[in-house]
């Protein structure tokens, strides 16, 4: 900072107002999420209490003997802080270490999963007995009404882990297929200057603007009757596409293609064409040039685009709720199922707990990837 020219230094008032604005924004950004997280740890009476203090301190929850002592809170805070540090500092080093063995994309996935698993293990298996014992020894009384019963109801009794596995399956499928198909197309579109390439991009842009409900409603009858429709072609093995994760992956990939190819195309445009032309002069085919010259340098853009595909696949509601059956249901429509016409208050608090649970992997994702998002975007994926 000391080499900063004097004129660039800012007056105190500007710095203060900028900091105040940022603090306000952070409060705005985090508060709703913080609030549902608080609700999810209370019994229904507290969670929907009219008095906000009752929601925060949970008297009814505490009355049932469920709560956190000062020591518990300290331990929990420490764990969260350590996780954050590990995600931001430790993981990139870990991935770099593994880079020799597996490609960075897989490396990130492995590292992120390891961190998530570690958090669950330490937070839910290792810590509780230790703090319980210490609390008993020190005779500490709970200060804050907190219960994990909603989470237990969701994950254990309602077998939410199945939805989690389904979500994982659909999301990973969407990311992998979307990127494979998208990088190929994005590369060709960046290198070909033909009018055809231009029109493909424009039509894709218009496709991106389409309201999804129009498309999705068209799929349902076709998917449900696909066995009947395909029987003349495929014989008795004709599959029913309705309810299959694979068909949902295909639909989501298609819906996401326009954005993916636009992103990747502008990214490839910023990789100098001389690079692959040189390879071509050396006798490589286009595909070889792509494989050996472009692929090694494209990861920042691919990771950024992949994150957007991840968000789309993970957060989708319209497609998954209509085209999947119960056994393959992903998490978002499963949560929405708690809120239908026939729910009870307990269902709703459990839904809140489920909602908080599904945000946790997203938290982890941003912690791990936030540098990649910024550097990927800086590297040119959005230059026009």
């Amino acid at each position: 900072m000391s080499d900063m020219p004097k004129a660039l230094r800012q007056p105190l008032s500007l710095r203060l107002s900028s900091a105040a604005f940022l603090a306000f924004w952070c409060l705005l950004a985090a508060f709703p999420i913080f609030w549902i997280a608080v609700m999810s740890f209370k019994v229904p009476i507290d969670a929907f209490a009219a008095n906000p203090l009752a929601v925060v301190f949970g008297p009814a929850t505490r009355a049932q003997g469920k709560g956190l002592t000062a020591l518990d809170m300290l331990a929990l805070g420490g764990l969260l802080w350590l996780t954050y540090r590990a995600a931001v500092r430790g993981l990139p080093a870990m991935v770099a270490g593994m880079a020799a063995v597996i490609p960075p994309v897989l490396g990130w996935i492995v590292a992120a999963a390891a961190l998530g698993l570690g958090f669950v293990l330490v937070g839910f298996v290792l810590l509780p007995p230790i703090t319980d014992a210490l609390n008993a020894a020190l005779g500490l009384e709970p200060l804050l009404g907190v219960t994990t019963e909603n989470y237990q109801a969701v994950w254990v009794e309602n077998a939410f882990w199945r939805n989690f596995v389904n979500s994982l399956q659909v999301t990973l499928g969407v990311v992998l297929v979307s990127l494979t198909v998208g990088t190929l197309a994005g590369y060709a579109l960046a290198r070909a200057g033909s009018n055809l390439a231009f029109w493909i991009l424009v039509v894709a842009l218009i496709f991106r603007a389409l309201p999804h409900s129009v498309l999705v409603a068209g799929y349902l009858p076709v998917f449900i009757n696909s066995a009947e429709i395909l029987r003349p072609i495929l014989g008795e093995n004709a599959p029913t596409l309705y309810g299959q994760p694979l068909s949902v992956i295909a639909v989501l990939v298609a819906i996401n293609q326009p954005f993916t190819i636009w992103m990747l195309r502008s990214f490839f445009q910023n990789i100098p064409a001389e690079l692959d032309e040189a390879a071509r002069v050396d006798g490589c085919t286009h595909f070889q040039a792509f494989r050996w010259v472009i692929m090694p340098v494209m990861w920042p853009g691919v990771i950024t685009t992949g994150l957007f595909s991840f968000l789309l696949g993970y957060n989708d509601f319209l497609v998954t709720s209509l085209l999947l059956d119960q056994s393959n249901m992903t998490m978002v429509p499963a949560i929405a199922g708690y809120f239908n016409r026939e729910t009870t208050t307990t269902d709703q608090v459990e839904a809140v707990a489920a909602a908080v649970s599904i945000t946790a992997p997203l938290f982890l994702l941003v912690m791990v990837f936030q540098r990649q998002i910024v550097s990927g975007l800086t590297a040119g994926a959005v230059k026009g």
């Binding site: 229904p44 809120f339 016409r341």
Partner: protein, 406 residues
């Protein structure tokens, strides 16, 4: 505690291997069902699952999926859960089968009341009835010395008295979320004023005196409600009751049990049920009668149909009702009406009785049109006549498109 829960989960997984423990026989043919997801269905499908080889789908999109999934060949589900509203497309498209022979073989214990007959054939077996009726805070009524209202005019007086005393935030709650709920509230009141939604030729008949009086009464009631009533559904009204914010509501019987659920409610034991009030003397109570029950797909083999029906009978037996008595007003043998069911029963046996919600194509169209066009009246954008004229106009457009009106 966590360890215990994990062990419990493990035990459940083990139990599903030898699942027919709570069932009289072991089911060999894989059966799938699709139904709504409220408590009663959870209880019934859990009981069926005890026989093994059964997969239940309790889906909030079942309205959208059921007609298409049952029309597929072979049908994607063997069993369906329906109500008198949602059975209509299945009947119309002929995708469910008559159950007479199966009832004869496995349904000897069924009461005649449970058998839904259409054109002489048994098309569905009902397990429960549901109706909207008056629930009220007995403690507040006692304290203020109020009589339980028998008509809506009396109800308005009672509401005014409660408002005056300031006993609760809002004297009334109502399931008036725009769309399906609001339309259903209109239907209830409309019945009470002696209205019929359409004539024999299928022409709409809501823009008349009964319709206008209905809207006027509903508007009068809203003065005593939470001003956000246009976004309040049954769960919201139930929560308002549980948190002690309202004193009366015309609420679904299936919601009664929640009032006495100590883990959710702050008014345990204080809520009572009474018959749905009358809108006009001599008319039926201002509500409609609903049933929920099972149907069996046509496009499956006879063996599968038999297995499915047998399974359904196992799910709807006395044993299940004994375990889940409070989940619904069961029609199944062995049901013990609880304190909170009294209001619904009084409504159902009132003379003249409230009509059953009609299972017709026209009613579906009318319900949608009401749900879409009535909110304009409550937000003050339209007069009652304008709103009802808009309802009729939308109904006519939709009915012509559906081909039920020339």
């Amino acid at each position: 505690m966590k360890i215990k829960a994990l062990m419990l989960a493990g035990a459940m997984v083990l139990a599903s291997g030898t699942a027919w423990a709570g069932c009289g026989y072991q089911n060999e043919i894989p059966i799938k069902s699709l139904s709504a997801g409220f408590e009663a269905w959870k209880s019934v499908t859990d009981a069926m699952a005890e026989c093994g080889n059964f997969e239940a789908e309790l889906d909030q999109e079942f309205r959208t999926k059921q007609p298409a999934a049952f029309a597929a060949s072979p049908s994607l589900y063997h069993l369906g859960g329906v109500s008198n509203g949602t059975i209509t497309p299945l009947i119309n498209e002929g995708t469910i089968r008559p159950l007479d022979d199966l009832v004869e073989k496995y349904g000897a214990h069924l009461k005649p009341n449970q058998l839904i007959r259409i054109d002489g054939k048994i098309m569905a077996v009902a397990m429960m009835v549901n109706t909207q009726h008056l629930m009220y805070r007995a403690d507040i009524f006692d304290e203020l010395g109020l009589e339980v209202p028998g008509t809506y005019d009396e109800l308005l007086e009672v509401a005014a008295a409660i408002q005056e005393a300031g006993a609760v935030d809002y004297p009334l709650g109502a399931t008036m979320q725009s769309g399906w709920n609001l339309a259903q509230d209109f239907n209830n009141m409309f019945v009470g004023y002696g209205g019929t939604w359409y004539d024999d030729a299928g022409n709409p008949s809501v823009n008349n005196e009964a319709g206008i009086r209905t809207l006027e009464m509903m508007k009068a009631l809203t003065a005593y409600m939470d001003p956000e009533y246009l976004s309040s559904d049954s769960t919201y009204v139930q929560q308002q009751f549980q948190q002690g914010k309202i004193a009366m509501a015309n609420l679904w019987a299936s919601r009664g049990g929640a009032m006495d659920d100590a883990s959710e409610s702050t008014v345990v034991g204080k809520v009572e049920g009474a018959a749905a009030p009358l809108a006009a003397e001599g008319n039926p109570p201002a509500t409609t009668l609903w049933w929920d029950g099972i149907v069996i797909a046509r496009n499956i083999t006879d063996e599968e149909a038999e297995a499915a029906f047998r399974l359904a009978m196992e799910g709807m037996d006395t044993e299940m009702v004994a375990e889940h008595n409070d989940d619904a007003i069961w029609l199944v043998d062995g049901y013990q009406p609880t304190r909170l069911a009294q209001g619904a029963i009084a409504t159902a046996i009132h003379n003249p009785p409230p009509p059953a919600y009609p299972s017709t194509t026209q009613m579906g169209l009318m319900h949608s049109a009401l749900g879409n066009q009535l909110p304009g009246f409550f937000t003050g954008e339209r007069s009652a006549e304008e709103a009802l004229a808009a309802v009729e106009a939308e109904y006519v457009t939709a009915a012509k498109e559906a081909g039920v009106l020339k």
